[in-house]
Structure formats: C-alpha cells, structure tokens
Amino acid sequence: MNIHEYQAKELFDRFGVPSPKGKVASSPKEVYDAARWLAINNLVVKAQIHAGGRGKGVFKSGYKGGVQLVKSPEEARDAATQMLGEVLVTKQTGDAGRLVRKVMVGEAVSIRRELYLAILLDRECCQPVIIVSTEGGMDIEEVAAHSPEKILREHIHPLMGLQAYQVRKICHDLGLQVSARQFGRLLHALYKLFIDCDCSMVEINPVVVTTNDHVYALDAKFNFDDNALYRHPEISSMRDSDAEDPREVAAALHDLNYIGLDGNIACLVNGAGLAMATMDIIKHHGGDPANFLDVGGGASKEQVAAAFHIILGDPNVKGIFINIFGGIMDCNIVAEGVVAAAKETALTLPLVVRLEGNNVQAGQATLDASGLNIITAVGMDDGARKIVAAVA
C-alpha cells in the first residue's frame, strides 16, 4: 500500500521526524487560506499523486510542473488552479497520467545539502537496513549504477534496534558536523516509525540541510506490509482507492488477488505460483496475458463469479484461460462456478478450461453438459496453445 506525501507528513509529525510546515488542500480557496495561515513568502505547491517525478511532470492541459515555487497566497492559488482536477503525466505514471485531487502547500526551505535516506527490509539477511548517500535529490538507481561507493548501508539487528554508535557512524560518513545531532534525531525517529508502523520501505529523497543548519525530510515514499495493516487501522484508512486500479479494489473485496496487465488473454488460476506460471506459459506460446488472478486454495462459486466480472471488465480481453489444479479443492465446484458465471454474463469470448485434480471427472462432465462452447485442455501447455489460437 502507498500513501500520499501529505499523509506521510502526518506520520512524520506523529513520530517527530522534522519536515517543513505544510497543509493539504483540495480547492484553490483552501490553498489560498493555507498559504495565508503559513504566513511565509517562500512557498511550494505540490500535486498529490502516487508517483514520483512530479517536478518534471507535465499536465495534459500543457501546464508544466507538478511542483511549483511561489511567493504569495495569490500565486499559490493560481498554481493550484492549474493542478487540481487535471491529469499529471510523469516518468512514473505512464501515458495515462494521474488525476490530481489534492495539493500540498508548504514552506519552501533554502537548501544547502541534499542527502538520501531509506530504511527497508533486507530479505537476504532478514534485517532492516539503513541506506544513506551524500547524493540526495537524484535518482538513486543512477547513483547505484555509476558511483556505488557513494551508497552506504548499515544493517540493524531486529532484536537490538538502532544503536547510538550506528547513528554516529552514519553522520560521520555523510560528513555531517553542525547538523549531525539533528540528523541523528531524525534517524532515530524514522527508525521507530519504520518498525512501529510495519513499513516494508520508507525512502526520503532528499533529506535536506538548510542554510541555517536545520535538517528536514523534504519528500517521502512509504510502502507498508499489507499483512500487518490489520494492526494499523489509522494507516489502512489512508488508502486512496481513487488512486488504485478499480479492478484491484473490487478483487480485494472478494478475497481475490488481481493485477491488471496489458495483454488480451485473461487468466483465472488457483495459487499464486501457478497464476504467475500461467501468465508465463501464455507468453511462451505467443500470447499476451491480460492479468494475474489468483482465486486462492478454496475458491467458492461466488468468488469464481466475481472473478469473471472483474476479468470481463477489462475491454482488452479477447479470451479467457482457466487453469485449476484442484488438489484438495473440488474441481466440480469450480466447474459449476464457471458454468454459472459464463451463463450469467452471456459469455461470447473463447473460454479454455484446464482442470486437474480432485473430482476432475465430475468437473469435466459438468462443463460438457453445460451446452456452452467451452474448449477443454489437458495440461497447461495444451491449454495455453488453445487459448492463444482462439484469440489469434
């Protein structure tokens, strides 16, 4: 799950991670009022979308830049008027861009140094790792590729937490002197936030040292562990369904795991590994998968029906491949679900079904007796070939 910058600021405030003053607003009037309230001359207005590269982004209206430096409440209001309700395209959004529903107006600080700071979970050694670099404000992947020596890593023992010597070491290696104490405080606060909120990643790019030696987190990108959201209702409530794929939101409601892709062959599979492998085998035989869809180990008739509706909501879909290995799950229940859903949606697209496992004969008989034009397959390769041929 992702959150917006203004929500990240709420978390920063709660945990004591210093960041410039700012307010979120969803109308030009609110922006004007917020700017008046801030009572500062150097202001910045930032579009709130779930994607980076906003500063260099271009609105579909032609207006350039999702981050604007302004000098007065009037200018802030004018910039917000150009952003709100408009679609911003950045290098991370793809051509479709993202609709801007909110902007953040805040203090524009005068920057002396920009640093990079991230905390994430290193799965190889099963520990959190703090990553810092003197090259803040840049694309960190570029830094990693061209000057890997400028990226420093510090692993944290999960049972001990961040130690004082580690903070001293990081500050020293970043060349911080006057501002070391402030940076250290920020680091301790951010580590506590990372652990307490079950983050899988938090990235601040940049952390800035201002001309008067204050240290601020200027931007933030958070990823939370979906498995832990149950114990963070305040973070779950930050979910912006408008910024997510509506099909994925619908799938989540039915306990289905759906991810939309660009192809035209929809697939419906039980098990995450088999679902990934089914996409691969479609591609291998010359087709293009339209989605990843895992109905789980104990899919019900209702879930199969919901899955059909979600799949058919994608206008690119030209055919459906159902691949079920019903180990414990009864193949006949799946077959009944498929037949009911195909009839209910008056399906006209080609449908290939590969069933294997528990009670497969009964399942096959249900499909045969349905009177529907279902193409049956024996094995995954056979099924993939048949659906690719059917949509060609």
């Binding site: 979970l121 799965r123 832990a228 892709l261 590994g273 990934m276 496992g357």
Partner: protein
C-alpha cells in the same frame, strides 16, 4: 530414508480445532500420518474427533506424546507466537502453514531461532509430504495442506516456494511413473525458515533421493544461492523452473516475496544463472517432470 519426515514421525497440530486445521488434520490422519495430538489453548483435555488428545500448550503435548514435529494452522496475528512456543518446547520440525504473517514478526522469529535446534519450514507454505508405499501413496507422512493422493513413493526430491506449482510437478512425475522421496514447500513469504539451499543440501545427502526438482519464482536471490552451491557440490541431476517471467516490476504477485526488485531477481536472470550452474531449466511449467527425466537420462 527421505528428508525431515517419514512414516514414523509423530506430529502435533497447533490450531487443530479451527476449521482449516481440523480439515487438514483429518486428511493427514486418513493419509496414514501419525497425528498424535492437537494444541488449542483452553481446550486441553478434550479429544479431537474422539481420538486425538488436545493439549493447552505445546510443551505439555510434547511431554505426553513424544512428538517431534508440529504443524501450525493458527491465524496470522498469533502465528509468530505459535512458532516460538513450538521451538521453546523443543519441537525439531515446525511447519507453519499460516499465510499473511506480518514480515516484522517473522524477522524477529528468525532472529530468535538462531542457534535453536528447531527447523522452521514456511510460513505461507503447503507443508511437507513424504509419500507412503500404499495405494495412492497412503501410509506416508503428510504435514500441511498438500493433496496426498497425487504422490507416489520414489526417488525425486521436490522443493518449491509455491503450493500449486509443487502439486503440478508432483502430478507430472507420478503420471510418468516416477515417485518422490520428499516434497517440501518452503513458502512464498520474503522471510522463511528454510531456504531452497537448506533443502537442496538435505536432498544431496539423502540416499533415497536420486534427482531433484527445484521450483522458484521472482524476488530475492534464494534460487541463485542454491544454484551456485549445486554447481560446486550437488551430485544429483536437478531440473528447475522459475515463475514470473511476465510479472511487472514492483508489484506483489500474490506471494509477498514475489516482487521483482533489481535486475538479478527477475525470472530471466534467475533462469540464466540456473542454466549456467548446470540446472536443466524447464521451458514451461507444463514440462517440469519431462525436463528432469531428460537430464537424468530416464
């Protein structure tokens, strides 16, 4: 021989009175597995299905039954605690089926298990099967949620992160007439107790295992680590498959661990490294068993 478990292994079920745990405990008992006890706090002293004694704690269950393995079916919020309880009771093999455990919980569990004599398999895994010698592999040891009947006792070891892909490989083998020594599902989470490499080493040392199928997916470098070790030390033919060649970067593909992060954890990169290490990589998941038989010379 097989690895980790055999037909004599005594197994506890933590969470035996929940619907999921109960259902799979029954299927394991039907398969011929020695389910010697269940653990559900506050239900100690009762019987499960009028036959299996239920205990309040793992420690009491181990003392009473002599169990050496435990399978965990408790909900995600309580699973880390259940693993630690089993380890504290000295259970040698802990298999955690639970899906959706917070990764911070697993990180702490993993750190606490360093130096422990317990082996954790999973979480978010289908479990382990050592097939029996009876009809449809009856009489074996089934710990977890895998369908027992698709197996056949034999000499191929299978290790995988994914449940359904394991069943796919096992079923292909069985249909071609080749049985399995042990099938181990290590789970789809980013932090798990037992890695591909841990299992590969055990298969290499197991006289009953003659050939190996290793199934992996995008994310992390566990498959690569296993392949590099196999190149230098494994004496047995290995066929591999990596799922997720078509997965978009940065998206979690069902399994929490299946996210492409860098260049080296893509399916393409892993397949290349596996091939370089002498592993026969199946072109599609439909030919995993066939690929193994070819490199095995059968």
């Amino acid at each position: 021989m097989a690895i980790f478990i055999d037909e004599t292994t005594k197994v506890l079920v933590q969470g035996i009175t929940g619907s999921f745990g109960a259902r799979h405990a029954r299927l394991s008992i039907e398969y011929g597995t020695h389910i010697v006890g269940g653990v559900t706090p506050t239900k100690g002293g009762q019987l499960f299905d009028n036959t299996v004694p239920i205990f309040d704690t793992v420690s009491a269950a181990v003392k009473e039954t002599g169990a050496t393995a435990s399978v965990i079916f408790v909900p995600p919020a309580f699973a880390a605690d259940a693993v630690l309880e089993a380890a504290d009771a000295g259970v040698e093999l802990i298999v955690c089926i639970t899906e959706g455990i917070p990764v911070m919980d697993m990180m702490r569990v993993k750190a606490l298990l360093v130096g422990s004599k317990s082996r954790l398999v999973g979480p978010n895994c289908p479990g382990i099967v050592t097939p029996g010698r009876g009809e449809r592999s009856h009489g074996g040891c089934r710990i977890g949620i895998a369908p027992g009947y698709i197996h056949k006792r034999g000499n191929v070891g299978v290790v995988s992160r994914s449940g359904t892909l394991t069943y796919e490989a096992v079923w292909q083998l069985t249909q071609l007439g080749y049985g399995q020594s042990t099938c181990v599902g290590i789970g789809g989470d980013p932090i798990n107790g037992t890695s591909h490499l841990d299992v590969l080493k055990c298969f290499n040392d197991d006289p009953e295992t003659e050939a190996i199928i290793l199934i992996g997916e995008i994310g992390g470098n566990a498959e690569v680590e296993a392949a590099r070790w196999a190149r230098d030390y494994c004496r047995k033919p290995i066929a591999g498959f990596i799922a997720g060649a078509t997965a978009p970067p940065g998206r979690r593909m069902g399994h929490a661990g299946a996210i492409v992060g860098g260049e080296d954890d893509t399916a393409q990169a892993k397949k290349r490294i596996l091939t370089e290490c002498g592993i026969a990589v199946a072109e599609t998941p439909g030919v995993m068993a066939k690929t193994l038989l070819e490199c095995w010379g059968r």
